[in-house]
């Protein structure tokens, strides 16, 4: 493929939308073409601006602590391993697209000095170049394997989490002390319904919701555990999938474990300490 054809692919590459084989070919070109790698960085700026069109959302405050605790146990990579990644060129991040350019053709000055070298020196240079090339090939292969490992490791982690969630669901649904409650849609969501299973001893809870309308941007649904109608105890916050369904795992606070009424309201995405929005789901009030 020609330089101009690669250049035309850069905008779509920045969106991450090239097919795998095209992306690989373009990345090989980027490693040797300064013009395209600079142009790619500009297209990535445009693509990254799209991130700003998402509604900002607040993660739970505990996440910050978890992150800072986890990095304390992670030593930063040594400079030598960083350098090896740099030679190979990362596939993730804007920097990958500005991958360092390796000048393959010798300049006029280096050609002159090349001619003046003795045969021995030439042989030594050739040997060093061959070794360097072999090393680069090995590095590339090593990094490919490392990336594949990381991808598969992520998939395994996801599966392990799903299995753990399913085991928890089975235990919760079959435990003799578990209680079930049915929630019906209010006037705000007549088609909606939900089932809540919870274990008053351990506080484990799962809510299975169906046919809820999509929460507006910046909002989410929140579950409430109600023993005293005047003081609902806040539960977990959740969003629905494309079909309006949701499965939420929750841990009922001590104060909510004697609850006999349950409700779901629409709240700010970060959750609320007392209900502020409309009710969407409600269990019968006895």
């Amino acid at each position: 493929m020609r330089h101009e054809e690669y250049k035309e692919m850069l905008a779509v590459y920045a969106l991450g939308a090239l097919d795998a084989s095209e992306a690989r070919a373009l990345e090989e070109h980027l490693a040797t073409c300064r013009e395209c790698s600079q142009e790619a960085a500009l297209w990535l700026d445009t693509a990254s601006a799209l991130a700003l069109t998402s509604a900002p959302a607040e993660p739970t405050p505990e996440l910050r602590t978890r992150i800072l605790e986890s990095v304390r146990t992670i030593a930063q990579p040594s400079r030598s391993s960083r350098a090896s990644r740099d030679v190979e060129g990362e596939t993730e991040g804007a920097q990958s697209l500005g991958a360092k350019v390796v000048e393959m053709r010798p300049s006029a000055r280096s050609r002159r000095s090349f001619a003046s070298l003795s045969f021995g020196a030439i042989a030594a240079t050739v040997a060093i170049l061959s070794l360097t090339a072999a090393l680069l090939v090995l590095l590339r292969r090593f990094n490919e394997l490392q990336r594949r490992y990381e991808r598969e490791h992520t998939a395994v982690e996801v599966l392990a989490k799903q299995v753990a969630e399913e085991r928890e669901a089975r235990e919760l649904l079959t435990a003799p002390q578990s209680r079930m409650a049915q929630l019906s849609g209010t006037a705000a969501a007549k088609e909606a319904s939900a089932r809540l299973a919870f274990d008053p001893q351990t506080g484990r809870a799962m809510l299975f919701a169906y046919n809820l309308p999509p929460a507006p941007a910046g909002k989410a649904y929140q579950l409430w555990y109600i023993e005293d109608l005047a003081h609902p105890v806040p539960g977990g916050v959740f969003n629905t999938d494309a079909r309006g369904g949701a499965v939420m795992h929750d841990r009922v606070p001590e104060a909510g474990r004697k609850a006999s009424v349950f409700a779901v309201t629409l709240e700010p995405q970060s959750g609320a300490s007392a209900p502020t929005g409309d009710k969407y789901l409600l269990s019968p009030i006895s």
Binding site: A17, A49, E58, L63, S70, Q76, T154, A217, G218, A242
Partner: protein, 220 residues
């Protein structure tokens, strides 16, 4: 960075923002992220030296934008929090790879974040295909967080620019960026020829870059 921009970049109370808007400061300074950018670069250099406080500051500065992006793609808070944690661990490990001569810190961070999120989406999709909500999302009126007034201003400009693209171009950009679909997958999803999709995506990106260049000088 001067005091006024510091407040804007790191989220002061909304009344401060409106006071600044009235005084004309926001209009003149809010769209010049290069003033905040210097600090982003410094933070990444400090993180590369193992400064945990710098990582905490970068997290405080970008958690809302990045979490919003991840949540829009994954539609699940627990998954999104897992990914955000992973992103900041990657930032910790890779901060030394960041080279300001080769790109902007914001782009580096967002690209890393989107890439990890799309990886997670694909891993999850092997079990359950999620959401076709991204396209609808662009049509919604998105509420701005007052915590980061400067980014809120930029966000409004980007949404406005995206909104000016013809719908079929905008649709391909959103499907690619927020659903992680390739151009072939988009063609199949829309039932349109691949060549048409390629043209729409490229034209959309060219138009978007042009509009952002006019209205967000300093950002691009």
């Amino acid at each position: 960075m001067d005091g006024a921009v510091e407040v804007l970049a790191h989220g002061g109370p909304s009344r401060i923002r409106w006071a600044l808007v009235t005084s004309g400061l926001v209009a003149t300074k809010a769209l010049r992220p290069e003033q905040a950018q210097t600090s982003d670069t410094e933070l990444l250099h400090a993180i590369a030296r193992g400064d945990e406080q710098a990582l905490a500051s970068l997290y405080d500065r970008y958690r809302l934008i990045l979490f919003g992006l991840i949540l829009r793609i994954l539609h699940s808070r627990p998954e999104a929090e897992d990914v955000l944690q992973d992103v900041f661990i990657q930032v910790w490990k890779r901060a030394a790879d960041f080279d300001e001569s080769r790109g902007r810190p914001f782009t580096w961070l967002v690209t890393l974040c989107r890439s990890r999120t799309i990886d997670r989406l694909r891993a999850l999709e092997s079990r359950q295909r999620t959401a076709n909500e991204a396209v609808q999302g662009t049509e919604e009126s998105v509420s701005d967080s007052e915590q980061d007034a400067m980014r809120a201003e930029q966000s409004a400009v980007v949404r406005e620019c995206l909104g000016e693209l013809p719908r079929e171009q905008r649709e391909t950009l959103v499907l690619a960026y927020f659903e992680g679909l390739t151009q072939t997958e988009i063609a199949s999803r829309l039932g349109a020829p691949l060549g048409t999709v390629k043209t729409r995506m490229r034209s959309g990106m060219i138009k978007l870059r042009e509009l952002l260049g006019e209205r967000l000088k300093g950002f691009l």
